[in-house]
């Protein structure tokens, strides 16, 4: 569980500092995967069942829709 938390820290740092927004969305999905396993190990399987389609399906789909409309690269 602590290893998953450290993985989520690394994924969050990469998602915030990444300049390509598509890669940032992928890193935030990686962070959501580590949170899914933390929820499962903390004995909350009902939250896992809700959290997987929302955080791994709908959030990246919405953000990819927005990135497709507005532009992929973040300007400085």
């Amino acid at each position: 569980m602590s290893l998953l938390a450290l993985l989520s820290v690394i994924a969050t740092y990469l998602a915030i500092t990444e300049r390509d927004l598509l890669k940032a969305v992928i890193f935030s999905a990686l962070q959501s995967i580590s949170y899914v396993f933390i929820f499962y190990l903390l004995m909350a399987p009902d939250i896992v069942l809700v959290y997987i389609p929302i955080a791994l399906g709908i959030y990246p789909a919405l953000l990819l829709f927005l990135i497709k409309k507005t532009g992929r690269y973040e300007r400085k």
Binding site: S2, L6, T12, I16, S28, I38, L42, I54, L63
Partner: protein, 140 residues
């Protein structure tokens, strides 16, 4: 050993909150702000679940201990109230993120950019020096 692992978990979640607040405050791009907001809300939900876990304070479930099976159940159960709250918070956060996504899309269609510096430049450039909210009445 278990306390060391839970300390690492809590410190990591605190670092995650710090990084995501830094992302919300300092990045001018609105899509990056949205990503940071999702990470922040998910981290707060994980902290609520960690508080409801039986490691720190064993919960009192709303069940009468009628026989030994219930007593064994009570010694192993986790607190259900933070889980119900987090389940609601995830769905409300989804609705909030959908609203913010379409607000960002509207800002892009009006100003032609999602970078907040460029949006503010466009606003100050196109605003006249004196703004009249209402038409002045013709004086007779």
């Amino acid at each position: 050993m278990i306390m060391l692992f839970s300390n690492i978990l809590l410190i990591s979640l605190g670092v995650n909150i710090a990084i995501s607040i830094y992302g919300i405050v300092s990045k001018p791009n609105m899509v990056k702000k949205l990503i940071a907001i999702t990470i922040l809300s998910d981290t707060v939900n994980v902290i609520a679940i960690v508080i409801g876990y039986r490691l720190a304070n064993p919960p009192i479930p709303p069940i009468h201990a009628l026989n030994d099976d219930y007593r064994v159940f009570i010694t192993r159960v986790v607190d259900p109230i933070p889980q119900a709250l987090v389940l609601t918070a995830i769905v409300i956060g989804l609705a909030l993120i959908i609203f913010l996504v379409f607000l960002t899309l509207r800002i892009f269609r009006v100003f032609g950019s999602v970078n907040l510096h460029e949006v503010l430049e466009t606003m100050y450039k196109e605003l006249p020096t004196e703004v009249h909210l209402y038409e002045e009445e013709p004086s007779d």
